[in-house]
Amino acid sequence: MYKPGSDRDQLVISLLTGQFGNNIEQNEISTDMPVIKVKKSAIYDVLLFLHDNAELQYNFLTTLCGMHYPEDSQLGVVYHLHSFVNNHRIRIKTAVNLDNPVLPTATTIWPAANWMERETYDFFGIIFKGHPNLKRILNVDEMVDFPMRKEFPLEDQTREDKDDSMFGR
């Protein structure tokens, strides 16, 4: 079971704040791993630092996924990194405004990010600058919308405004 505030957690956070100062904010208490919020201007440098730093060595990109925060009209990307050397996981979060959702690509750090970023583009419309082949991956190419955004709700099964009279209910 994860306990927050271990030595390694603190090492990661102190190294990052020492290097990037104001671009880092750690304000979330998480139940499974340290969560670090990064400003979008610094995201590439932070990821590269985490990958290259000899003490940290986050050599494995576990997963990367998009988020939509409609209340702030922002899109976000969540990176899960894993250091096999130290067996330590962290979660990096960043957010961009909806009107200009551009982020630097992580494919130059981890080639694994290639399809994950294509998927994120496909479903959320986040544009990864520098990506070698940024096009839709699971949906059809002709699609114009980004279906995982919250403005496309699925029908709620507990809706009360449905007319059930046709079904004898």
Binding site: C65, R89, A112
Partner: protein
């Protein structure tokens, strides 16, 4: 063998040594007997050799991540069935453990051991299909038809435990819906007794078979560095020589109490992937035996779910006879219970590698975001790099040895 041929061949165009090289475009898939699933590869071919390949995926995309945003937790379990449908119970248990992590439910030891039995059976069923299909693609159909009976035995065990076979929807948040019946135990013991003999026989058919070795050694090799960069996990990563196993690195479900070996390969080629899966089946057998021994040592023979009435469904007898139990059953199924705000990432060692669930809850009845880390989706992108320069027939073997499952690939 393939490597030598390739260097010779690339020096000159045999048909027209003076002129420019002529390439052909070959469509492998979307429905092709050699792909074992619905995905397309558009290959640029120089005779029998692959110059480049471009993948198209998403043919059976079913928008699970979107659907999950409108489903209470219980109704998401059937979605996870359809990710890697060759080992559905693993996905079910992984999802239930994710929810337990969010809700802070602690499962009793007996539930952990029962889960481990089911999860390892599912791992055997998955590896069994993958390995026998490697045999089929290299021309040996016997092992496939022979071992499929044992997959049938495993499915019968699922049937005794939860009532269904392929898409199992097994278990509940906090444990199981019912205790294992005597018949289920009989079938498990029968499987443990009969399977090693047949697995041994299957292994002796292929593992030192000259034809099979020639067809698989040095086919689709991949280095450990590239495998890590491409996010490989599971048997494919271990075949490259990296001993990463979520069961050991990040133990869940009491795996830390078990004694097992994490087999690794050397070259990351098709033969190594085959052998790693083969050894993992033996290890899974040993884990199941250890779990049964641990269960026998426990005094408690009845517990099969965690004692947390907020989220664990009350037993069926009570639901039919007791008003409060009926209300609770309804509230839990409809997702009307209190769900904490928070986010968790939980990963398990599924048959293909690290299957992760990133669950974000805003306190509503459904997740506000659920992301599946599907191992297939992540490692299949390295396929062009693995097969370029190889022969087409080797590319078929490489794909089947990677165990790409279309359901998991496309979510």
């Amino acid at each position: 063998m393939a490597q030598e041929l390739q260097t010779d061949y690339w020096k000159k165009d045999i048909i027209n040594p003076e002129g420019p090289k002529e390439y052909n475009i070959l469509n492998v898939g979307p429905t092709h007997p050699a792909t074992h699933g619905v995905f397309q590869n558009v290959m640029l071919m120089d005779g029998e050799f692959i110059v480049s390949t471009e993948q198209t995926i998403g043919y059976i995309h079913r928008a699970f991540e979107k659907i999950a945003e409108r489903r209470p937790f219980y109704q998401i379990t059937p979605l996870t069935d359809r990710l890697n449908y060759c080992s559905a119970p693993l996905n079910n248990m992984g999802w239930h453990m994710t929810v337990e992590k969010l809700l802070g439910i602690e499962t009793p030891k007996r539930v952990d051991y029962l889960r481990i039995i089911v999860m390892e059976l599912a791992r055997i069923a998955d590896h069994l299909i993958c390995n026998t299909v490697i045999g089929v693609d290299s021309g040996a159909l016997t092992g496939f038809t022979y071992l499929f009976q044992d997959r049938e035995f495993i499915y019968e065990i699922y049937e005794e435990i939860c009532g269904s076979r392929l898409t199992t929807n097994m278990g509940r948040i906090g444990g199981f819906e019912r205790n294992f019946s005597d018949k289920a135990w009989d079938k498990i013991h029968h499987f443990l007794k009969t399977y090693p003999k047949k697995l041994k026989e299957f292994e002796s058919l292929l593992s030192r078979n000259r034809i099979f070795m020639d067809r698989t050694i040095n086919v689709g090799p991949f280095s450990a560095d590239r495998a890590l960069a491409y996010g490989f996990t599971g048997p494919n990563l271990r075949a490259c020589g990296v001993d990463y196993d979520v069961r050991v690195m990040d133990p869940y479900c009491s795996y830390d109490e078990f004694d097992f070996i994490v087999p690794i390969g050397q070259n990351g080629d098709t033969y190594d992937r085959f052998m790693v899966r083969q050894e993992e089946m033996w290890q899974s057998m040993s884990i199941i035996k250890q779990a049964i021994a641990k269960l026998e040592k426990l005094d408690d023979k009845e517990t099969y779910f965690a004692n947390d009435p907020r989220f664990v469904l009350p037993p069926k007898e009570k639901v039919y006879n007791n008003m409060e139990a009926l209300i609770w059953h309804f509230k839990i199924v409809m997702g009307e219970t209190e769900i904490p705000v928070g986010e968790v990432y939980h990963s398990i060692e599924a048959a293909n590698g690290e299957l992760g669930f990133y669950l974000v809850s805003d306190g509503g009845r459904t997740p506000s975001r659920l992301h599946f880390r599907r191992p297939c989706f992540i490692y299949y992108q390295a396929y062009p790099e693995m097969v370029t320069g190889n022969m087409l027939s080797d590319a078929v073997l490489t794909m089947s040895s990677m165990n790409v499952i279309a359901g998991e690939l496309d979510a």
